[in-house]
C-alpha cells in the first residue's frame, strides 16, 4: 500500500514506451533534423531515398526534417492544453464535488454546458477570429484548446470527490478544523491521483487531435511546422491523389502512434482503478503456470499470487 505501483502489463509497457519515445523526440527532434524544413533547394517530389529518408515535397522541402521539427510544436501545444485543462477540471470538479449545494449546481451547469457544445466547431469559431500573431503562438492555441477540453475531466473528478467527501479521514480533517481549501488540496486531491492521471492522458490525446485538426483546416499559422501543417500542405498539393504516400502518411502515423501510446497507458490506469479489469491483462503463460482456467469463471476474478515479488502483475496488492 505504500508505493503506487502501476500494472506492468505488456499493453502499459508498450504505451509508456511509445509516449517516452515521442517525448524524447519533442526535445531532440529539431536538433536531429538534417535540413531546414523551410529550405526549398532540393528537387521536388522525390521518393524516399538515402539522402532524403522520406522524400521531398512539391516545393522541394525535406519531409524527414519537417517531421522531426514538427514534433515539438505538436507536443508543446498538446502538453500546454492537457495540463491547463486538467488543472481547470481539477479545480472545478473538486470544488463542485466537495462544496455541494449552490456552488455545485453552478459549476456542474458550467461543465455540462461545455460538454454539450460540440468542441471542434467552437474551436474553429474562436480560432477564426484570432489575429495572425495568436495563430502562430503555441501557448495561445494550447489555452484555447484547453478551454474546450476540461469539462469531461471535471465531471469525472466531481463524481470521485463526492464519493470521497464523507469518508472518515475527510470527516476527521473537518473535525480537527482544517480549512476547506486545505482539505480539498491535501486530503482529497491526492486520492484523486489515478483519475487525474487518466484525465491528463485523455486531454493530451484530445489536444493533439484538436491541434492537428486546426492546423489541417488551415487555422494555425502555416509558418509553424507541426504534423497538422504537414498534412495541410500535402492536401493542398494533392499529395494523396498523386499517391505521394511518403508525404502524408508519416505525420498521420506519428499522430496515431502517440495517441495509441497514451490510450494504452490509460488502460493501465483503468486497471489500477478497477481491479476486475486487470485479469484481462494476464497473459496466457501466467494463466497456465498459475493453474488458472483459460476462460475466467463467472463471479470470480482470477488473481495471480506468486511468492516471488518479480511476478506481481497485480498492482497495489495489500
Amino acid at each position: 500500500m505504500s508505493a503506487v505501483r502501476v500494472p506492468r502489463s505488456p499493453k502499459v509497457l508498450i504505451g509508456a514506451g511509445l509516449v517516452a519515445f515521442f517525448a524524447v523526440l519533442t526535445v531532440v527532434g529539431p536538433w536531429l533534423a538534417p535540413d531546414n524544413p523551410n529550405a526549398t533547394n532540393f528537387t521536388a517530389n522525390l521518393r524516399p531515398s538515402s539522402s532524403h529518408w522520406l522524400g521531398t515535397t512539391a516545393l522541394g522541402q525535406d519531409i524527414w526534417s519537417q517531421l522531426l521539427v514538427g514534433a515539438r510544436a505538436t507536443m508543446i501545444v498538446a502538453i500546454v492544453a492537457g495540463v491547463v485543462a486538467t488543472l481547470l477540471s481539477m479545480i472545478i470538479g473538486v470544488a463542485a464535488g466537495y462544496l455541494g449545494g449552490k456552488p455545485d449546481e453552478g459549476l456542474s451547469l458550467l461543465s455540462n454546458v461545455f460538454l454539450a457544445i460540440p468542441g471542434l466547431p467552437l474551436l474553429i469559431v474562436i480560432d477564426s477570429y484570432l489575429p495572425a500573431g495568436g495563430r502562430s503562438n503555441s501557448f495561445v492555441i494550447g489555452l484555447i484548446i484547453s478551454l474546450t477540453g476540461w469539462a469531461w475531466g471535471a465531471r469525472v473528478l466531481r463524481a470521485q470527490t463526492m464519493s470521497l467527501r464523507n469518508r472518515d479521514f475527510v470527516e476527521a480533517a473537518r473535525i480537527v478544523g482544517e480549512s476547506r481549501l486545505r482539505i480539498m488540496m491535501f486530503e482529497i486531491a491526492p486520492n484523486l491521483l489515478p483519475v487525474l492521471a487518466s484525465s491528463l492522458l485523455f486531454t493530451v490525446l484530445y489536444s493533439i487531435g484538436a491541434y492537428v485538426t486546426l492546423a489541417y483546416v488551415g487555422l494555425t499559422s502555416t509558418a509553424v511546422w507541426n504534423w497538422g501543417t504537414m498534412l495541410y500542405w500535402a492536401q493542398a498539393n494533392n499529395a494523396p491523389l498523386a499517391n505521394q504516400w511518403w508525404w502524408f502518411v508519416p505525420p498521420g502515423v506519428c499522430i496515431a502512434l502517440i495517441g495509441t501510446g497514451l490510450a494504452l497507458m490509460n488502460f493501465g490506469i483503468d486497471e489500477f482503478i478497477n481491479p476486475r479489469l486487470r485479469s484481462a491483462g494476464l497473459s496466457g503463460r501466467i494463466r497456465r503456470t498459475s493453474g488458472l482456467p483459460r476462460r475466467p469463471r463467472l463471479g470470480f476474478t482470477p488473481v495471480a499470487r506468486t511468492a516471488t515479488p518479480r511476478a506481481t502483475w497485480e498492482a497495489g496488492s495489500r
Partner: protein
Amino acid sequence: MLLRRLSLYLVTAWVAITVNFLLPRMMPGNPVQQLIGKLTGQVTVQQVRAIELAFGIGLHQNLWDQYIGYWHQLLVGNLGVSITLSTPVSSVLQSAVPWTIGLIGVSTILSFLVGTVTGTLLGWFRGSRLDSLIPVATFFQAVPYFFLGTVVLLVFGSNLHWFPVLGAYSQSVTPGWHWDFVFSLVRYGELPVITIVLSSVAGWMLGMRNMMITMIAEDFVLMAVAKGLPRRKVIMHAARNAVLPSVANLSLAIGLVVSGALLVELVFNYPGVGDLLLQAVLNEDYPLIQGIFLVITMTVLAANLLADVFYFVLDPRTRTEAAV
C-alpha cells in the same frame, strides 16, 4: 430528469448564441477594413453591409440593443448574409444540413451497434484471442478522422475502385425518391460511414467491455447460470444491464462524432456542413461560420435530447425517480 436535461440544453443554446454574438465584437482592430482589403476592391455594397452587420459596426447602438436586435433576427430565422456567396446564410445551410444529419445519424447508430455487440463479446470472452481487437481499435481511434478518411479514400476508392468517391451521389442520376438515386446515395455514403465507424467504434467497444466484465461478477448473472439458462440468454441478461452507461454516454459522444464527421465530409467532398465550414473559414466568411456553428450546436443539442429520451425509455429506474 428529462426536464432538467431540457433546461440544460436551453442554457447551452443561450451560451452558444451569446458567444456567437460577443466574439466578433471582441475582435481587435477594424475587421471591416481588413476584410474589404482582402477582397481587393471587388466589394459590393451588400457585402460591406453584411460584414458590418456581422461585426456590429456602424449600427451606432449600444451592446445591449445590438444583442436584442441579434436575438430578434435569429428568431425570425435571419442568420445574416454570406459575404462570399452573397446569399442568406439560412438558405445556404438548408441545402447542406440534411446531408450532414444523414451521414452522422447513420454512422452514429452503426458505430453504437457494432461497438456494443463486439464489446459484449469481448467482455464475456475476456482473456481470449478476441482481446487482440482492443489495441487495433485503439489505434484506429487515435488516428485523426481526416487522415483515416484520406487513407481509406486512397486505398479503396482511388486505387482499388471498390467504392465510388467524391460527392454524395453519382452525377448521372437526378436526385429524387427513386431506386437509382437511393442506390447511388448508399454506394457513395459507404466509405464516409465506414471511416466514421472505424474511428469511433473503439469508445463504445471498450466501455461496453468494461461494463460487461463488471456485470459478470454480479450475483444475478451467477443466478442465471445456476438456473441453467443457455449461454446466449445469460449474455443477453448481462448485456442489457451493461449497456445503460453506454446509452447514457450517447449524448456526449454525439458531439465528438459531429466534430469528426465534419472533417470526413471534407475529405470525401460530401456536400454537407463540414465542406461549407472549411470554405467559410478559408474565405473568412464570418456570417457563414457563425451560422454553421449555431446550426451544428442546435442539431447536437436536439440529438442529445433524443438520446436522453431513449435512456429514459430504457431504464425504468429513471422513471420511478421522477415519480417520487
